[in-house]
């Protein structure tokens, strides 16, 4: 069983990126917390019966998060990303120069996530990892359990789709 100090360290390192990943799927703060909680509990339970490879913990957590999100969405038949209106999220970050640019980005992201409703969960998952976490294809492959080549292929296909759609709606 993993020691509490290890859990503590893992949590501090990964909580934010995992949370963002889950949140982008579920779009509910409370549910995202629940899923993140379950991810760590699954890891702890796994470690009670199996030897845990330190290098694969990250991938394990991502894969668990991915599966839990998919299961949740299937149970609730929801594949929609509604507009973000969480009060604890700052809509505008300090990295933008002006408000107009911020609004434009916000609109674009909103549109993107609406378009993502029409695609498969795997591609969605890969996209979120790339966009929000800026993970490399190798890392994404490890996290999702598919080959890097497949990840690249899916990403390419998704990108073309998004660009086509965004062009139709006048974002370019």
């Amino acid at each position: 069983m993993l020691e509490i100090e290890k859990i503590d360290s893992l949590y501090k390192d990964l909580k934010n990126e995992l949370f963002v990943y889950i949140y982008r799927f579920i779009n509910s703060y409370e549910l995202s917390e629940d899923i993140l909680h379950d991810c760590f509990i699954n890891l702890i339970k796994y470690s009670m019966k199996n030897e845990v490879n330190e290098k694969s913990i990250r991938a394990f957590l991502y894969r668990t998060a991915h599966n839990l999100c998919i299961n949740f969405l299937k149970r609730n038949s929801k594949f929609s990303f509604s507009d973000i209106e969480e009060t604890n999220i700052s809509k505008y970050s300090s990295s933008y120069d002006n408000v107009e640019a911020e609004i434009e980005v916000e609109e674009l992201n909103s549109k993107i996530y609406k378009l993502l409703e029409n695609i498969d969960e795997f591609s969605k998952s890969i996209f979120i990892m790339k966009k929000e976490m800026n993970l490399s294809f190798a890392q994404i492959a490890e996290n999702t359990g598919i080959s890097e080549r497949t990840v690249r292929r899916k990403m390419k296909k998704l990108s073309v789709y998004l660009m086509d759609e965004l062009k139709k709606t006048g974002f370019i």
Partner: protein, 336 residues
């Protein structure tokens, strides 16, 4: 890539993610510097993959406490599981012997002290007050003043009814085709209260529990519900998987087989199947309850009803076999 036209989208994507070789990258860079269209496309692509910048998006501090708590629980479960296994393995025989000894002693204690603990049946009076038609107690024909006790089963036939009196205070009217069991009936010396528990296996009963002095505790059971009351007036019908409770006065608490619980108040009617539903009280419900309350007799056979009306000098509600009202026979003057 066709350098005379525009960069293909998939090439732009490869370029963005840094997958092209050095020569090809330089060619794309050169094209981008001169082509506004491709520049715009590339800019859009970058924006698509630009992080939403959710720098403030993080879980609450409470989440970590939850994880810690779950961790501790899992750890405890693991320890107790291991400890229990070791203990049992090592001490199986002594544990088994101890368990049986304890059970034996507990059973002996219970048996020996059962009557001393809280029961006093001598304070109870349970008697059949009135009989019409075919009524039996423990499969023995019963008549007026037949006594019975705990665990007795009262049955009424097709065209029959009976009145049961407990301590001259609790009245239960058992209508036709009803089986009523007196599950428990005793006086608790420690609490100084009378305890009753009845099972209506099928049929219709009317009851009036006078509990002004709070000395009585009652519970009724049907095949799919459990009802408790501390003093009320009601009509209860039980058939298979359906229980109907009509409360004329007081408050009762109904619990279904699923564990759902509802408080039923005066002038409310509940039907219990796999759920508990509040229903509208019909005129017939009211009439039926009123007739029973006013000590009227119910029968589904005219001759029995007429006999009851004459002998008891009361109004008799003549129903069909399902309990639905057909007519009223005036007291002492049936058929007119």
């Amino acid at each position: 890539m066709n350098m005379n036209n525009h960069i293909k989208r998939k090439d732009l994507i490869d370029f963005l993610f840094g997958t092209e070789n050095g020569v090809f990258r330089r060619k794309i860079e050169d094209h981008l510097s001169g082509c506004q269209h491709c520049k715009r496309e590339f800019k859009l692509l970058k924006k698509i993959f630009q992080s939403s910048n959710n720098t403030n998006l993080e879980p609450s501090e409470n989440l970590y406490n939850r994880i810690l708590s779950s961790y501790n629980n899992l750890q405890s479960e693991k320890r107790s599981g291991k400890t229990a296994k070791k203990f049992v393995k090592k001490n199986f025989k002594p544990v088994l012997v101890s368990a049986f000894s304890f059970l034996f002693i507990a059973a002996a204690f219970f048996v020996l002290n059962k009557s001393r603990v809280n029961k006093d049946l001598s304070k109870l009076s349970m008697v059949i007050n009135n009989v019409i038609g075919d009524v039996s107690v423990d499969n023995v024909e019963a008549g007026k003043q037949t006594k019975f006790g705990e665990s007795s089963i009262i049955k009424t036939g097709d065209n029959s009814s009976a009145e049961i009196l407990f301590n001259d205070r609790i009245l239960i009217k058992v209508t036709c085709n009803t089986i009523l069991k007196i599950e428990r009936a005793f006086y608790n010396k420690e609490e100084e209260k009378y305890n009753f528990s009845f099972i209506v296996k099928k049929g219709v009963v009317y009851s009036s529990f006078n509990n002004d002095d709070r000395k009585y505790k009652y519970r009724l059971k049907t095949p799919n519900s459990s009802i408790r009351s501390s003093g009320s007036e009601f009509l209860l019908s039980a058939s298979g998987k359906k229980t109907v409770l009509l409360v004329s006065d007081g408050t009762m608490v109904i619990k279904s087989g699923n564990g759902d619980e509802v408080a039923a108040f005066r002038n409310q009617k509940y039907i219990v199947t796999d759920k508990i539903s509040l229903k509208k009280i019909t005129r017939k419900d009211k009439d039926l309850a009123a007739w029973i309350k006013d000590k009227k007799v119910i029968s589904d056979k005219k001759t029995i009803a007429e006999k009851g009306s004459r002998e008891l000098n009361v109004e008799v509600a003549l129903t069909d076999k399902c309990g639905k009202l057909r007519s009223i026979l005036e007291k002492g003057n049936p058929g007119q």
